[in-house]
């Protein structure tokens, strides 16, 4: 019987294991040093905030693995010896494999800041980092101030977590406006306001220079490039993540930023595959980046590689881009491509609408000459994934999207609906006279 070994028990590795089990009888081993059982990394913040206990982040009960004959090994892989098809672990004998899937995910970036390895300096990615946070910042008495460095999604999550325990937070963001490398200006501005509304000391266009240490080797303050020294007990480094592949350095597996893979998720060495955050596409797919540290791409790659390993060789073929996040209290969804002002191409035009009072806004991107709909960002409005996926595939125009926007609304029942207002404002700006069509179940579920 063939043995498939998966390094990493995150969403990518576990999805691969589940699908291999569905498709075959192979022996499956998952190795992880981080945790005994699979948990949802995205939910770690809720454990600190007291919404959930750690066990709630585990999507499968503990008996699931044995029942599905998925062997779990807790250990750290030091080396991949592909000549002998075996893995060398820290504290036990080698593990042989016939097929190897590398799904080790990422780790927080550290850009060589002075003091980045002091006590009280950490990222927020692993279970261990969550536990460390609970030790270093249990409440505002033990942690009178925290500084977060890096203006991304993990940074704002960490800020929200600390604020839930009333810990004062200073948030250093390199950009001139929060996440404006990804979000268009109007949206980024709205999030800036929202962050400050939550009593987070947001400092834009500010870089970390160094972290100062006390006598015991703990972080006691940070120095910024604006010349400020901010005393703090905790420094959160959340300036993005990088593939977690240091252990593969001399393995002969081709590495770039991550583990280089082709569209079949195969590495340069036979029978070794890489999926999830740590995989780097040889060539980018569409507008996607070669390394995509997104929950659902890990899931998709896991499923794809399972098919390939089980004899149905399949290309990794992600469909239209989508994603979602939550900035404190504002939900964000995106379908298709809406580029930030910085990355926008010449022919990408935006229609932006923002509610006068509520923190609700949308941005629709379209092609300036043929008015083709390119993508949508929504803040504070939920949209139906299927509908946008369909419209993108059907190459609909932005006018069509406006006309049928009500079909796409996914907000809970009895919520205020803004489509009327949005279309009015669109008509005014574009000189069109579109009348929004009433929501139709028939259209919404036509593919069902």
């Amino acid at each position: 019987m063939e043995t498939v070994v998966i390094i990493g028990n995150g969403i990518a590795g576990v999805t691969a294991a589940r699908h291999i089990r569905k498709l075959s009888d192979k022996r499956i081993i998952i190795i992880s040093a981080e945790s005994e059982f699979f948990f949802s990394r995205t939910a770690l913040m809720y454990v600190y905030m007291g919404h959930m206990k750690f066990e709630h982040t585990q999507p499968y009960e503990n008996w699931f693995w044995e029942k599905n004959r998925i062997e779990l090994v807790q250990g750290y892989v030091n080396e991949v010896d592909h000549a002998n098809k075996q893995l060398i672990l820290d504290d036990r004998g080698p593990i042989r494999y016939d097929k190897l899937i590398i799904a080790t995910g990422s780790r927080p970036n550290r850009f060589g800041w002075p003091g980045q390895d002091l006590k009280g300096v950490q990222g927020l990615y692993s279970k261990q980092e969550l536990e460390q946070l609970e030790i270093d910042a249990p409440d505002k008495e033990s942690c009178p101030r925290a500084v977060i460095v890096g203006g991304g999604l993990i940074g704002i999550e960490l800020a929200e977590m600390l604020r839930s325990r009333d810990i004062p937070v200073t948030f250093l963001v390199r950009e001139s406006s929060f996440w404006n490398g990804v979000l268009p200006e109007g949206e980024s501005q709205m999030i800036n306001e929202h962050i400050r509304d939550h009593h987070i000391d947001l400092r834009l266009s500010t870089n970390l220079v160094e972290i100062l240490s006390d006598e015991e080797g703990r972080a006691k303050a940070v120095v910024t490039d604006k010349g400020d020294t901010i005393s703090c007990n905790l420094v959160g480094l959340t300036a993005g993540v990088t593939p977690n592949i240091a252990f593969l350095k001399n393995s002969g597996i081709e590495l770039g930023k991550g583990v280089k893979v082709n569209r079949y998720l195969e590495t340069n060495i036979e029978d070794i595959y890489a999926i999830g955050d740590c995989a780097e596409q040889n060539e980018a797919i569409g507008n996607r980046r070669p390394v995509e540290a997104v929950w659902y791409t890990g899931r998709m790659m896991g499923e794809t590689v399972a098919h390939t390993i089980c004899g149905q060789r399949r290309k990794y073929n992600p469909g239209h881009w989508f994603n979602s996040a939550k900035f404190l209290d504002i939900e964000y969804q995106t379908y298709g491509w809406v580029f930030s002002d910085r990355n926008r191409k010449a022919n990408e035009k935006h229609f932006h609408w923002r509610h006068q009072k509520e923190l609700v806004c949308i941005t629709i991107a379209y092609h300036s000459s043929n008015r083709k709909f390119l993508g949508i960002n929504t803040f504070g409005i939920r949209m139906r994934h299927e509908i946008f996926d369909r419209w993108l595939t059907e190459n609909r125009s932005v006018d069509y999207v406006m006309e049928y926007l009500k079909d796409a609304n996914f907000d809970p029942e009895f919520y205020d609906q803004y489509e009327g207002e949005i279309v009015n404002s669109y008509n005014k700006e574009m000189g069109t006279s579109i009348k929004p069509k009433k929501k139709s179940w028939k259209r919404i579920f036509k593919s069902a």
Partner: protein, 526 residues
């Protein structure tokens, strides 16, 4: 703000403390005239019992029901055993000692409590309400910006099965045991609400009136908490208003007013088989004997169960009843909301749930068929089993212990819908319709789920919502009561309650949006 909360908590605890002390205090002195009147009213024929009570009780002062009850119970036992020995069966008193004590106690109550009903109401209910509101209202400010804040739920002793939760658990269980099985200790409580009861039905309050009044009070106060916590979620606001309305108007006011108008006591929203004694002989007789209104109730009750319930479930799912109308659901959604995260999501509990709830449904239906057979054929037994003993067993095990003691008492430890999930026969019936013939489903939004587990954690019915959401599969489960919290707590906008077209609501495929696969190729591969 925090100070107001603290003071509120103290005021609430004082009110609760006084309320809790009432069963053990008070003076009871039965006058001879009251006793004679009572004997006449009840048609007591046992001269032994009458003599005993006249000697031992009448004209004497007792402090606390625990001193009075044993005397009455002994008198009753002795009288009954003598009558049985002498084969004087007509003189035997069949009412239980607890009920007689409660009855006589109500007549006998004297002193401060029955003489100062208004003040005592204020010292118990009044302080409780004021204290609770002082504790709850500051959240308008403290909860801050828009959004549902579940912060700290698993850090707080009271909501994380800490000692406070266990204390509440034991308190609630003791309260229900007393209410169902030792009503004589509730006598002092009845004085508090006598004025309300007299205003409504014209009668002094019994212990069930106390319970009804308390139910409405607790639901309203905790409803305020719901309004504040979910103030930015209109679905929750409207739903809370709806359950409050149905509880206060339909379950509480209308039945009492009907009694005043010489009509039968009836809760128009209470459908069989939750209303398990609807088809019991005594109810059918009393309805048939009450003329037009009785017949109307009979027809309405039957229609409600056979037509209205399934038709409404077809259009809206069982949520229209369980989350918008039902009193049990109403208490669960208000008083029980802080504990909703404790419903077990394990596969094991799901298995137990299915056996248990369907078992209760079978029991209820079987019992009713027996009852109807007995009613029409005028026999007391079916296939050698006594109908009345089946009815009594059901009343005790399901009606009292499961629905009351376990159903509410277990909130702080096992989640707020223990009864609805494991025991309610109506929920089981509605669930069948919802599962097989309904437009309702929880729609999942393509590939947006990040498996965070908020939905599953906060599902009061113990559904592992995430298991469906991460597969992009609509949730069609007979147990879902459509409370809408999963949708509210989802940080990615994945879940939506929908009454859409029935076709295509079950989508068991696991093709998520995101992976563009050639479907024909996929089919050929498999």
């Amino acid at each position: 703000m925090k100070t107001i909360k603290r003071i509120g908590l103290i005021v609430f605890l004082i009110g609760l403390g006084i309320f809790t002390s009432l069963p053990f205090i008070g003076t009871y002195s039965l006058t001879s005239s009251d006793f004679t009147k009572w004997v006449e009213e009840k048609g007591i024929k046992s001269e032994l019992f009458i003599k005993d009570i006249e000697q031992e009780v009448v004209g004497k002062d007792f402090s606390g029901m625990h001193n009075l009850t044993p005397i009455i119970a002994t008198a009753l036992d002795e009288a009954n055993s003598t009558h049985r020995k002498n084969k004087e069966y007509k003189k035997v008193i069949y009412t239980k000692a607890h009920d007689i004590s409660a009855d006589l106690g109500k007549q006998a109550g004297s002193g401060f409590i029955p003489e100062n009903k208004g003040l005592m109401w204020f010292m118990t209910f009044g302080l409780g309400i004021i204290g609770a509101l002082m504790y709850i209202l500051p959240n308008v400010v403290l909860l801050g910006k828009k959004g549902i804040k579940n912060d700290g739920i698993y850090h707080a002793n009271s909501t994380n099965r800490g000692w406070i939760a266990w204390l509440v658990f034991f308190y609630l269980i003791a309260f229900y045991l007393l209410l169902y099985f030792r009503p004589q200790f509730a006598v002092n409580w009845t004085y508090l609400v006598d004025p309300t009861s007299e205003a409504l039905s014209g009668n002094p309050a019994g212990h069930w009136f106390v319970y009804g009044f308390m139910y409405c009070t607790v639901m309203t106060v905790m409803g305020v908490r719901m309004y504040i916590k979910y103030r930015h979620n209109r679905y929750q606001m409207i739903r809370t208003t709806s359950v409050l309305f149905f509880q206060i108007v339909f379950a509480f006011l209308i039945p009492e007013i009907m009694v005043r108008l010489q009509m039968p006591y009836y809760d128009f929203k209470n459908a069989f088989p939750l209303d398990y004694d609807f088809f019991f002989q005594w109810n059918l007789r009393s309805l048939i004997n009450s003329g037009g209104i009785g017949i109307f109730i009979l027809v309405w009750g039957t229609l409600l169960t056979l037509v209205i319930v399934p038709v409404m479930v077809y259009f809206f799912g069982k949520r229209w009843y369980c989350s918008w109308v039902c009193g049990c659901g109403g208490l669960a959604e208000t008083l029980g909301d802080p504990y909703r995260q404790h419903s077990s999501k394990t596969l094991l509990s799901w298995r137990v749930e299915r056996w248990l709830i369907h078992g209760v449904l079978v029991f209820a239906v079987g019992m009713t068929l027996m009852t109807l057979y007995s009613f029409f054929s005028e026999t007391g037994t079916v296939l050698g089993i006594k109908t009345s003993s089946v009815q009594n067993t059901y009343s005790l095990l399901i009606g009292s212990i499961f629905a009351g003691v376990i159903g509410t008492g277990f909130y702080p430890i096992f989640g707020n819908r223990v009864w609805c999930r494991f025991g309610c026969p109506l929920a089981a019936y509605l669930g069948f319709v919802q599962r097989f013939k309904s437009r309702f489903r929880i729609t999942t939004n393509g590939g947006q789920c990040i498996s965070c587990g908020n939905c599953s954690t906060y599902c009061e019915q113990g559904i592992d919502v995430r298991a469906y959401a991460q597969k992009g599969e609509n949730i069609i489960r007979s147990s879902c009561v459509g409370c809408g919290i999963c949708s509210a707590v989802c940080p990615r906008g994945v879940l939506k309650l929908e009454n859409g077209p029935e076709k295509g609501r079950i989508n068991p495929t696991q093709v998520l949006l995101g992976n563009d696969v050639d479907l024909m190729e996929l089919v050929n591969d498999k």
